[in-house]
């Protein structure tokens, strides 16, 4: 299991390959990558991501530990960036490895649902109109209820 909270970009191919290596008993690997999306009607200059150093790492470790136990995962990876990002940049990735695909998919979705509303990150969008904090969505909170 690896958790990384970092400002620097990451190499998706290298991270995915390193994660996949060395799991002879795992038949399934799922990866998900989050990208900074441009806004068609109000072009995005940048997205700033703030976090809570210390708590962020602890919260992600807790979420990943729960996923490992609940879905019988052989391994889990979370990388999440902070700082100033521009459209097209990768914000974060999760990866799960399991003997069978259902656990790998479910584990990845569980990680994403919990990351959305239980990991202390906050996003701010900077456009020509100014800066605005991204509001949380009720749907993100509701998504936790299925687990």
């Amino acid at each position: 299991m690896r958790i990384s909270v970092q400002e620097a970009p990451f190499d998706l191919g290298r991270e995915s390959a390193a994660f996949a290596a060395g799991h002879r008993d795992m038949g399934a690997i799922v990866t998900f990558t989050g990208i900074v999306r441009d806004l068609p009607d109000d072009p995005l200059d940048a997205m700033e991501i703030e976090h809570y150093p210390g708590m962020t790492e602890a919260a992600l470790t807790e979420i990943a530990t729960q996923a490992m136990a609940r879905f019988s995962l052989g391994d889990a990876l979370i990388i999440h960036r902070y700082g100033r990002l521009t459209p097209g940049e990768m914000i974060m990735m999760v990866a799960t490895a399991a003997p069978h695909r259902k656990d790998a998919f479910d584990g990845a979705e569980f990680l994403m649902d919990y990351l959305k509303s239980r990991a202390p990150f906050w996003k701010r969008e900077i456009t020509a109109k100014g800066a605005a904090w991204v509001a949380s969505k009720d749907a993100d909170e509701d998504a936790l209820k299925r687990w």
């Binding site: 989050g34 703030e50 809570y52 210390g54 708590m55 602890a58 919260a59 999440h80 914000i91 974060m92 994403m112 990351l115 959305k116 509303s117 239980r118 990991a119 202390p120 990150f121 906050w122 996003k123 701010r124 904090w133 991204v134 509001a135 949380s136 909170e141």
Partner: protein, 81 residues
Amino acid sequence: MDVLYFAWVRERIGLPREQVETEASTVADLVAELRGREDRYDLAFSDLSALRVAVDQKLVDFDAPIAGAREVAFFPPMTGG
């Protein structure tokens, strides 16, 4: 204890963190104390349903005890991922 503020809570209060001497026994008591200080605190804490709180880096409810806590943090609902 250290009191930390993130995102728009930090912007409204104008500080990322401060040391607070308090006899408050719960988060809600601490909030009431802070609101009484100045308008900027009163504004930042005016809608608790728009806020989350962590005591020693664990998410808790506003009625959670804070006796012996080293760090209390206030922030809006998280938007990770």
